[in-house]
Structure formats: C-alpha cells, structure tokens
Symmetry: C4
Subunit: 224 residues, 4 copies
C-alpha cells in the first residue's frame, strides 16, 4: 500500500467504475421527462354537458400542443437510444463524465418546459428559438461526453469502425440543430427545414464516404 | 476482421442485443403514467370548514373521474403484464423493435390525458372515442412488436405452443378495443358492451379450439 | 414434450417466475407517489415583494399540509420496507400475486390524493375517513399478497420463525388502521389515538408471547 | 437451529443485506425530484399571438426561477453522486440506515417545493432561510447515514484513506450549508457568500493537511 496522500478527486475516480447507476438515473429522468410532456395536453375547461362536435372543435385548436408533444417525445426517444448506444462503448466512467451526464440530464429535464412553450406559442420566433436551443444543448452535451471519453481513453476500441460510426451518429444532431437554430433567427419556419436538410445531407455524405473508403478504418488494428 | 464498410444501421443492430435498458425505460414510463392518473383526482375547491356531508356529496359528483382512474390503472397494469410476458420470448432486439416500443410507450404516456378527458366528459361520445382510440393504439402497437419480432425471427421458438398462446393473448385486445371504437360511433355506451362481448367470445372460442386440437401445435417440433 | 393443450393461464404461470420487474415497477410507483406528495405543498400566491414575517405567517397556515405530507411519506416508506422484506420470502410469483400487487400499487398511487384531501380538510371527518380507508387498503392488500402466497405454497419456509414474524409484522397494520377507521366514525381525532393504541398493544402482546413460547415455532422443522 | 425467540427487529436486520433496492428507490426519487424542478418553470399566460420581444421580456422576469432551477438541479446531482460514492463503502444495511435514507429522500423530495419558493421570492429572507434549511437537512441526513454506518461497523475499511476522504467529503456540505443558514439570518444575500467561503476554506485546509500528513492514515493497517 503506497503512502502518498490520496486526494478526494482520485478516490472518486477510482470508485466510479460501473455505469449501472448512472444508467438507472438516466433512464429515470428520461422516463419522467417523456411522461411529463403529456401534462401539457390539457383537458379543455368546458361544461360537462358539452356536445361532441364542439369538444372536437376545441381539441382541434390544441393541435400545436399535440404536434409539439409528438416531436418532443420522438426526439427524447432518439436521444435515449443514442445515449444507450454510446454507453456500450464506454469501459468506465470518470467524474467529469458523470457531471457532463448530469448537465445533459438537466437539459433533457427542461424539454417539457420548452415543449410547452412551443405548444402554446407555435408560430412565435422566440419560442421556436428556445425550443431549438434546448434540443441543440441536449445533443451537444451528449456529443461532448463522447469527445471527453475519447480524449481520456475510456472508449472501448475493439471495433474502431463501430466507434467511428458511433461518433459520426452523435455529431450530426448538434450540427443539424445548430443549423435549425441559426435559420430560425431569419425566418420563423426556416429552422425545421434547415435542420432536416442538414440531417439528410450529412447522412448521404456519410454513405458516399463509406462506399469510397471501404477499408479506411479497417486498417487500424483493434486495440486488444 | 472483414473490410467491408460498416453502416450505422448494422452497427446499431449489433449493439442493441440486451433487453435490460428498454425494460427499465418501459417500467419507468408505466410507473409514471399509472401514478399521473391520480393527478386527475382533484381536491374539491371548498372552504376548509365545510361539513363532512357536503364534502362527500361533492366527491360523489366526481365518481366518473374515479371510475375512469380505476379502469385506466387496471388496463395499464394489463398492458404491462403482457409486455413483460412478451419480452420473455424475445431473444434480442433490433432497432425497429426499439422504435415500435417507443411509439407504444408514447401511446401509454397519453393515457393520463385521455383518462382525464373521459373522467371529465364521461357521457360525451367524442371523449369516449378518444379514450377507446388511445387504448386501441396501445394494444395495437404492442401486438405489432410481436408481429415484427416474429417476422424477423427474434422469437424464441423453444415452446411453439406457448408462442402461439402468447400471440393469441396479444391479438385479442386490439380486436376487442377496435370493436369498442366502432360501436361507440353508433351509440355512446355501446363501446364498453361491444368490447366486453368480443373479449368474451374470443376467449371462449380459444378454449373450444384448444380442446378440439390438443396436439395441433405440439406437432411442430421445437426449434432447438 | 407432452401433447395436452396449453392454456394461456398455465403458460403465464410458467413464465412469471422472476420478481425482478415487479420490483422495478413497485419501486418506480413508490418513488413517484412519494415525490408527488410534495406537489400538495403549494407556493402561496402572494406578491413577490412580500415581507418575511407575512410569508412565514402564511406558510404557518399550511401546517396541516406539511403534517399530512410527513405522515404520508413515512407511511409509504414503511409500506415499501414491508414489501421489500416480504418479497425476500417469496420464491416465485403467480399471476394472482401480480394482480394483487397491481391493486396494492393502485392504492399506493391514490395516497397523494387522500393526503392532499387531509392536508386541505384536516379536521373534517370525511377527509380523515378517506385517508384512513386509503392507508387501510394499502396495508390490507399487502397482507393479502402474503396470505395468498402462503396458501399457494410460494413462501420459502427455510426459517419458519422468520416467516411467522414477517406475517405478524404484516397483519398488525391492517388491524391498527381498521381500528383507526372505525374510531373516526365516532369522533374526528379518535382515529389517530385508536390506531396508535392498537399498534402498541399488538407489539407488546407479541413480545410477551415470544418470551412465553421461546421454542414454539422452533419445533416446526424447516422445510428444506 | 437455536431455540431462542426471534424478534422482528433481528429478523429484519438479517434480511436487509443487499443495497440493490434501496438504490433503485433512491435513484427513482432523485430522478423525479430533479425532473419536477422544471414544473416551476411556467409557460407565461399570454395571448398566443404575442410578439417575440414581449415574450422574451416576460421570460426575463422569470430569471430567478431559472437560477433557482439551475442551482437546485446541480445540488441534487451532487447529493446523488455523494450517495452513490458512499454506498460503495457500505457492506450491508441495517434497518436504522434504511430509515435514515428514507428521511434523506424525504428532504430531497421537498427540494422542488423550496426551490419553487426561492424562485418566486428570491430576495425574501424567509424563502432563502427555508431553501438553505432544506439543503442543509439533505446534507446532514446523508452525513448521518455515514456516521451511523461507521459506528455500527458497516463500512468496508479495506482502504482507510479512501474512507477518511469520503467522510471528509460528506462532512463539508452540512458545515458549509449550516454557515449559509446562519448568515442568512443577518443579511439576505450573505448566505450564498458564507456557504461558498466555508466550502472553499475546508477544501484548502484539507489539501494543506494532506500534504503535511502524507502517511497519517496509511499507517492504520487495512482491516482485511
């Protein structure tokens, strides 16, 4: 047993090896954020004896809220899948990753708020800007975790092509959402179109690149 | 190690083998949706010094909300049990199943909303139609997962009779709820009766069929 | 492989052996119900520039809500511990136990509602009656699971004295809360006193009995 | 098999060995409390056709609520990390620890309430006092668990320096938050400054102490 002083930092780095509980907290916060989205769908305040036609008409006016719920739920599902996949490559955690993950979860926890904003003020540029900024922040913090994990050598490099594909999958969302954020500044609905265009372009470019360089990554020998 | 290019799609298919985290997210969303149902039971806004009789009278007026809470909780419990059982047969997941499961969870997350609608507008045909449509969608998406898993060969066929019984168990709910949805179009309360009748008929028919064909499925040899 | 027809019921009994996911759903619903209790503590609607003294005075008026929150949280914690302990003795589950557990979880999910009722109408006999009935139902359904599990031979009888102690621990709460429910019918605050008296009496009686019959249970040979 | 009477207490001590389910409940309550914080961020009640500038102006007025959300989320994340780390050292649980943990979770569950109070009445001394008292209680109950576990000999002493560092990490937060609580009594904003100063001083002192006594703890032989 060495006699050099142990810092709290190094102690904590030594302990936090397993990804089990961080996954439990992540799954919990995702489950709650995704279910809280529904709180924004409100029962219209109408007399109990109202007719069916009028009730449907009033619900029709709430279409922006339903649209916002749908998009937000699917986006959160996508983030959850990406987090799930990325975690498969991480051999163990360091404290900086745990904090980055907590910031990531914080931005996920804010989604029900910005989703409710968009549902209420669908055509308002400020509400769209906040919504895009929130989704961008989620995607950026997820990607940052990957970059830091790679920088610290915590990624399992057994299959370097899979690692490269994973990294690419994580980088396209901040890029596309950043484009959406920028375009919204100029025109209210431009954000959705820009985001979709960038997403499509990046996917096509990747496919093209994979065909041209079939063995590019395969030449890197696996680490183990 | 082969040198052919790896697509993101195939990478993801290779990674998502375990059902552990999808079960954790599912259990989380079910737990929250089932508990959020109670938010619809509201404390009546009355002065604190009100008498017991008057308080009970006011709560009595909220009976539709209690009825709606009860039915929704039990239905969600049933869906959870069916999901739990079906997962036992699935050897591993593919990305399409994860997305179908997310859509299934989305329809489960909407149940507190349509339950609140029914609790507030119990005798309104539009509210009933929305409620039935929501329950139908849940059951349909659960069944779709089973169909896709079977089509992709992801089901463990060790006991083909159990697989057949499981599939039957999953198909009767979309059928019964679809019948309920259809009948509600013609008469407000007909939905509940039609659903119950179809459910009962399908169960009786299955029992009859099992007696007549005791060895029908047993002849299919187990796959392993 | 036998060729007799397999019923859905027997299939399901065969699959539901593990207690893992039912524990996950239970922990989830407890966690949410216990945290939703706090939603009843409401920020008073006062101007932002209000003085400290006045704010504290208004919060003081909300004391019944704080009291109700405290009692409900601790009671839910107790139920969770008892469920946790009881599950240790259960070797495997049958479908009837899963449904009883879902009904138990439903009564737990209603606690935030009856807790809010009590917090708002603390001295109202109807609110107290509802609160006691809710707590009684939780305790009764937990005990019923134990009785059914014992009847079906699902309890691990390795240590019969521990099984007996566990059963005793589970039966005293429905008895005490039933007494509380009954006494509340006669006098608003009598419920709390009756419940406490019965709880104390049963604990003392058990201690007495254990001293007098030190070997009573030890004579029953362990099942394995 | 001994024939001395078994008390419920000793039975329960024997069963509650695993930390798995207490971690599941803890992760669940943290996940929900952290996500409920967002409910305090409210969509402003404005007409749907409002301009972007006015919407941003109104959101700007809600800055205290955003600030309060941010601080509370990060503090809860810190508590979760500390709980996670401390649990690594605990070999098994006793009933007293489970109850202390439930009280700890109760104080965590109250954070969304005191966070909403601070968000609404940011410069009110009573709201600040309640907020600090809540955070102090969380930190104190976490530290108390550690003290009790050490007193009962439940801590894994394989690496005594790590145990000492962990204990130090757990004690500085109640001290710093207690200082914040005290200072708030004298001046509204003094709490934040006092807390930060104490936290910084304690960290610097520890680092100094570690340098001066590099082998102080290493001399204690590991217990196994």
């Amino acid at each position: 047993m060495s006699s050099k002083p142990v810092s709290v930092r190094s102690l904590i780095h030594g302990v936090l090896l397993s990804t089990g509980r961080i996954e439990a907290l992540t799954d919990g916060i995702f489950a709650i954020a995704m279910t809280l989205l529904v709180l924004e769908l409100k029962v219209p305040e109408l007399p109990k004896s109202i007719g069916s036609a009028e009730l449907l008409h009033r619900l029709g006016e709430e279409m922006p809220a339903f649209f916002s719920f749908l998009v937000s739920f699917i986006y959160c599902g996508l983030l959850w899948i990406l987090h799930h996949l990325a975690m498969h490559f991480i051999r163990h955690l360091k404290l900086v990753l745990v904090w980055l993950n907590l910031l990531f979860l914080m931005s996920v926890a804010v989604v029900p708020f910005s989703c409710a904003m968009l549902g209420h003020f669908l055509r308002n540029r400020a509400a769209q800007e906040i919504y895009f900024a929130n989704l961008f922040l989620c995607a950026l913090l997820l990607y940052l975790q990957w970059v830091v994990a790679q920088h610290k050598g915590l990624i399992n490099q057994d299959d370097p092509r899979a690692v490269s594909a994973m990294g690419y999958q994580l980088v396209i969302f901040p890029l596309a959402l950043g484009a959406g954020m920028g375009a919204t500044l100029f025109h209210p609905m431009a954000g959705f179109y820009s985001m979709s265009a960038v997403l499509l372009a990046l996917r096509l470019w990747r496919r093209q690149w994979s065909r041209k360089h079939p063995t590019a990554l395969a030449q890197t020998p696996p680490s183990s």
